[in-house]
Symmetry: C2
Subunit: 338 residues, 2 copies
């Protein structure tokens, strides 16, 4: 049963289990502070493929296959795959699952795609539409640069507010039955919030108001304080957007800082020249499905809010002067010690 | 409650109501054989906007607003919007709903997007995750030509197997409570089926095997014959793909022809120079949310299979020589005379 509490938060009376998870990342991401906590780190960002798009697809496929294997499952055990990425027509995702023989629902939520898949997936599992499903998302620095900015060979300068698209993918399997202690207890679908930002090199500013809307609604609906969670993590506001989010919440008398992190800020170290931090669908997907869920399994985190943030724009919409809306979908993930 | 019957068909014990629906189309579509049955026909395919992308967005917004109004509803009555289109990063859809203040889940299923939204939406409503939601999809000939083929000014020649991307949008509101006689009783999520087609000008051939897989699975799961339905409609195989689908089913001893139509074949008349027929997310969305659902309301169709077909490709994937997979999601829609 799915119950609505407060304005918009969905509560699962019998919360879906997060049965398995895996993260696969690129070389630079593997050299960062979280490097040791990913399931797969490639030394060749081309992944042995002849294009960056195929490389991204192969990285997502690696995360999917690893998650399925770690769960002791086979592809045939899945009722559906929910996946998406930043590439035009989401080709990174459909190519990754094309030969899987599993029903497929393409998702587009920009960098909020992993959170969108988990929120939607937990509703499908809790509502009885799927016994077991997989949510996945990916991004690749080189395929994204070519599509959104310039081909790498151009050597374009990056602004200080620019984020570095992560070469990364994450996948998680949800189901009602199975072994495990990690469950998705609540989900909240985000609204697009548009505050007039038109600078495609400052996504953090475009997304922070949506993160503010979703996190403050969730806390209010649950009657909760930030300290009721071990960790509230956004993905991926980067340093600039994270500061804005803390400021917006502080104006409401909410101090998120004791429990707050951002996947984009966590992924790269200070010496890695990633400017305002990581971004891309794969960033929050890999940080969640690698380090964060490992910490939950290891009993270091018990109650986590995963709030994925996306910037709704395209090169065409930006060139045409359209504003960039942010969106933020959230799930509450809990570890039970039973 | 959602019950799984046979291999993959989901049956809704209490089927969601299709509360309202609307279709908005371009000038050429309005001049076709179905023209009088759409809610809105524009005489200006630019929709008063300064770009084709904004025109598409405005058309989808018109379908959404009309569906909400016809249902006697307001935007605030919706718990979520599921929408998608063919444009990079689905900008037609997110721009249409950006200011709606309704939670938003971007969907990408190529031309199967409307069926994907209805199948997913009916699971969310039947499972208790949403009280009321809207599914929408759109396409625009001019924005699609520029992105997939050539800008219109190029005047490129079209092959006989090519389909004409419809300038069209459809929207439908689903909910558990309300007045009405039309319900979604079953849903089936499709698998990607890839048979080696690489010709982006022959989408019908790429999609027909997926339609075959979904329709034969659905009939088998339901223990049904084609004649158990008043109408089985695909969207959008066009003339070439429709012939292939009938041939594939005939090899299994199934004669679909007495009840079969294709939205792409229905939309344009023979004199309209649309070659193999209509296509685009908006084609099946508008033909369903215009003529077909009107016929159900008027008691002319009682039991309908809506099987939306999509071709999973992008200009980049085709240029890189990747095969095109088809996908087909289906819903069964019934009119009760109670």
């Amino acid at each position: 049963m799915i119950e609505r509490i407060g304005q918009r938060t969905l509560r699962f009376a019998e919360p879906p289990l997060l049965l398995s998870h895996a993260a696969a990342v690129g070389k630079k991401e593997g050299e960062g502070p979280l490097g040791a906590q990913f399931d797969f780190v490639t030394q060749d960002d081309r992944m042995g493929q002849k294009s960056w798009e195929l490389a991204e697809s192969e990285l997502q496929k690696t995360a999917i296959d690893t998650a399925i294997k770690k769960g002791g499952l086979q592809k045939g055990d899945l009722d559906v795959i929910l996946a998406g990425d930043l590439l035009n027509q989401c080709i990174g995702s459909f190519l990754a699952s094309m030969q899987s023989d599993v029903p497929y629902l393409g998702q587009y939520g920009a960098c909020s795609t992993m959170a969108q898949g988990l929120a939607l997936g937990s509703c499908l599992v809790a509502g009885g539409a799927a016994r077991r499903l997989l949510a996945a998302a990916s991004s690749h620095f080189c395929s994204a640069e070519r599509q959104y900015r310039f081909p790498l060979a151009y050597g374009g300068q990056r602004t200080p507010t620019a984020q570095w698209t992560a070469t990364a993918a994450g996948a998680a399997v949800l189901g009602m039955r199975g072994s495990g202690h990690i469950r998705i207890t609540h989900a909240l679908f985000g609204k697009m919030i548009e505050m007039g930002v038109t600078d495609a090199n400052n996504m953090g500013a475009a997304m922070a108001p949506a993160a503010y809307d979703t996190i403050s609604t969730l806390l209010s609906d649950l009657g909760a304080q930030p300290q009721d969670f071990d960790c509230i993590v956004t993905g991926d506001l980067g340093h600039v957007g994270a500061d804005l989010l803390l400021t917006l919440l502080r104006e409401d008398g909410i101090d998120l800082s004791p429990v707050y992190s951002d996947c984009g800020s966590l992924l790269f170290g200070e010496t890695q020249d990633a400017h305002a931090g990581g971004s891309g669908c794969g960033c929050s997907a890999a940080v969640l499905c690698g380090p964060l869920l490992r910490d939950m399994q290891a009993d270091k985190i018990h109650r986590l809010v995963f709030a994925g943030t996306g910037a709704m724009m395209s090169p065409t919409s930006v060139q045409q002067g359209q504003p960039i809306a942010g969106i933020c979908h959230a799930v509450v993930i809990e570890r039970s010690n039973a």
